[in-house]
């Protein structure tokens, strides 16, 4: 089972995780992808741990803030996340804390990758900025190829 989880509040660029999931879901015929679960959540805090439950592989999609230009796509392993000083997601007890807690409790899935898109200053509306709107299809394309490759490699 693979779980692909989009994280964010529904406002401004913080909703990019939701948009990626929406577009990914539209890409696939779900009846042929019954081993993939697409989820979205708004600031899950510790609940992220229970959301990941039962998955062999988890792909998280979230907004990140670091020194990169807005729209930059980053791929982070759990170790990258634990060592990173970048602000992972805009949420307080955020993804990093939840994953650290899961790690302490041996509750991390076998494979986990966080795909982040760098965001700039958030505006107070429900529109995506052009940088993020441009980056989303690229991430969707990358993830689609990855999922298709996994699917095709199955006997």
């Amino acid at each position: 089972m693979i779980k692909i989880i989009g994280i964010g509040s529904p406002f401004s660029d913080d909703r990019l995780g939701w948009n990626v999931i929406e577009q990914l879901q539209a890409t696939f015929d779900k009846t042929k992808m019954n081993n993939i679960d697409f989820l979205t959540c708004d600031r899950p805090n510790m609940s992220l741990i229970s959301l990941m439950k039962g998955a062999d592989e988890v792909i998280l999609i979230d907004a990140v803030k670091s020194e990169n230009l807005p729209g930059t796509i980053v791929r982070l392993s759990p170790d990258d996340i634990f060592e990173s000083q970048i602000l992972l997601s805009s949420h307080d007890f955020g993804v990093k804390h939840a994953l650290e807690l899961a790690h302490s409790l041996n509750l991390l899935p076998k494979q986990l990758t966080l795909y982040g898109i760098e965001i700039g200053t958030l505006s107070y509306n429900d529109q995506l900025s052009s940088d993020i709107a441009d980056a989303i299809p690229m991430l969707v394309s990358e993830l689609s190829q990855y999922i298709n490759a996994l699917h095709d490699s199955k006997p």
Binding site: D42, R43, P44, S47, D92, F93, H97, L101, S104, L105
Partner: protein, 431 residues
């Protein structure tokens, strides 16, 4: 003797923003200011001009941890204005909904925020290495609370299912039946939790404070009741709140301090247990007796035990309600919009939450007042810190004093969501 200034410029991971500053001179605390900047003041203005049916979605956004409390106090006030008495099904389900929030909020606080303080860990993440089973229990209890919230609210964070008159829809029989099974499976966790919290290393304190909560003739405080204080004795309808409770500005905080007849007071689970333990089911009262802790208690650190007790109560109460579940004819009652003034007062996980709304004849909000438990507890937290630091010893090293201060503040669960280290301390010693 060295003068000490402890300045904590930012209380991180607070619902709102806060800071703590303590100045010690000649071995005495000269000033002690806890400043929490509460967002609800802005929400009062946001609500003006909005229609009544937007209110619940807006107030749910005030707090990510206790949105149901804001919704339930608001809906009570609006239904008072519209002279709408929800049917028995709605009343029961609102109580079950609220149980979900207590479980989610208390489960988080006991295991992730408070327990590391008692056991000497810097965070739940550190504690999890030595206490994995306990932390996993916290995750389970938190999760079942969230599931109950989702059952009625469509989602756990900022739920959207509640409306004036009741709920937009009723959960299916199967959904409730499935939930009931999960609740049953959690009972042992909750029972164990009471004994575990009571066994934690406990600091002895004996402070004098009024315990205040709402009180209802037939049920443990949650959805409705009069405002009750043990000492000084007070029992008044929610409509008379502002005759005794006054908010005032203090120089060090943008949040208002709320005092009862000029006195700080304590809200939250310890106050509810202090005032209403006799309303808990008999089996829970027996468990409490086995802990050896005497309630009413004036040791504020017993709040963690009170939270554990309320977790068990919330599970039992949800089980009781769901055991008799049937689909209603209507999940919401009819009403006619009319102008007026209404009041709502319910028990958020961290204490009494009071609302007042004024609505025009078309159902638009013309004024609102929201007094959250955190601002009501703020003066009490300062009093507690003052006494606790004296008892702790002002000659202790400053890191130890900071940690103890954190523990005291966190003990009130002041809407400090998901925090383990919320005080970043700068210490300045004066020669």
């Amino acid at each position: 003797m060295t003068d000490i200034n402890i300045n904590v410029p930012i209380l991180a991971r607070v619902e709102g923003e806060g800071a703590l500053s303590i100045a010690i001179k000649n071995g005495e605390i000269e000033t002690l200011n806890l400043s929490i900047y509460e967002p609800p003041r802005f929400f009062e203005k946001f609500l003006e001009g909005r229609r009544y049916d937007e209110v619940l979605d807006i107030v749910a956004r005030i707090c990510g941890i206790c949105p149901v409390a804001y919704q339930m106090s608001a809906v009570q006030a609006l239904e008072q204005i519209f002279q709408c008495t929800p049917n028995a099904w709605v009343r029961d389900m609102r109580r079950a909904f609220y149980c979900g929030e207590w479980l989610e909020s208390h489960g988080l606080h006991v295991h992730m925020l408070a327990a590391p303080d008692f056991l000497g860990y810097g965070s739940a993440i550190e504690m999890a290495k030595d206490y994995p089973d306990e932390v996993k229990r916290g995750l389970r209890l938190h999760a079942i609370g969230n599931e109950i919230l989702s059952l009625f609210g469509g989602r756990a964070v900022h739920p959207v299912g509640a409306c004036v008159g009741g709920f937009y829809s009723a959960p299916s029989l199967k959904a409730v039946s499935d939930m009931l099974k999960k609740i049953e499976c959690s009972m042992q966790d909750a029972e164990d939790l009471i004994a575990w919290t009571a066994s934690l290393p406990m600091v002895e304190r004996n402070q004098n404070f009024p315990s205040i909560c709402i009180k209802h003739a037939r049920e443990y405080p949650m959805n409705e009741g009069n405002i009750f204080s043990d000492t000084p004795a007070l029992d008044l309808p929610k409509e008379h709140f502002d005759k005794h409770f006054k908010e005032e500005h203090v120089a060090h905080s943008t949040a208002l301090h709320c005092l009862m007849d000029g006195t700080p007071y304590m809200l939250g689970p310890l106050s509810r247990i202090n005032n209403c333990l006799y309303q808990l089911p008999e089996n829970i009262q027996k468990l409490i007796a086995q802990t050896g802790i005497q309630f009413p208690s004036k040791n504020t650190f017993h709040s963690i035990v009170a939270r554990a007790i309320e977790i068990y109560y919330a599970l039992q109460e949800a089980r009781r309600i769901f055991s008799d579940y049937s689909l209603p004819d209507e999940s919401r009652s009819e009403f006619e919009v009319q102008s007026g003034i209404g009041y709502g007062c319910t028990e958020a996980p961290r204490g009494m939450l009071w609302h007042r709304y004024e609505v025009d004849e078309k159902g638009f909000i013309t004024s609102s007042t929201i007094i959250p438990p955190t601002s009501q507890n703020q003066a009490r937290i300062e009093s507690d810190l003052m006494q606790s630091l004296h008892d702790f010893g002002l000659d202790k090293d400053q890191d130890a004093m900071r940690l103890h201060s954190e523990m005291v503040v966190r003990n009130y669960d002041p809407c400090i969501s998901c925090s383990t280290h919320f005080l970043t301390l700068n210490v300045e010693k004066k020669p």
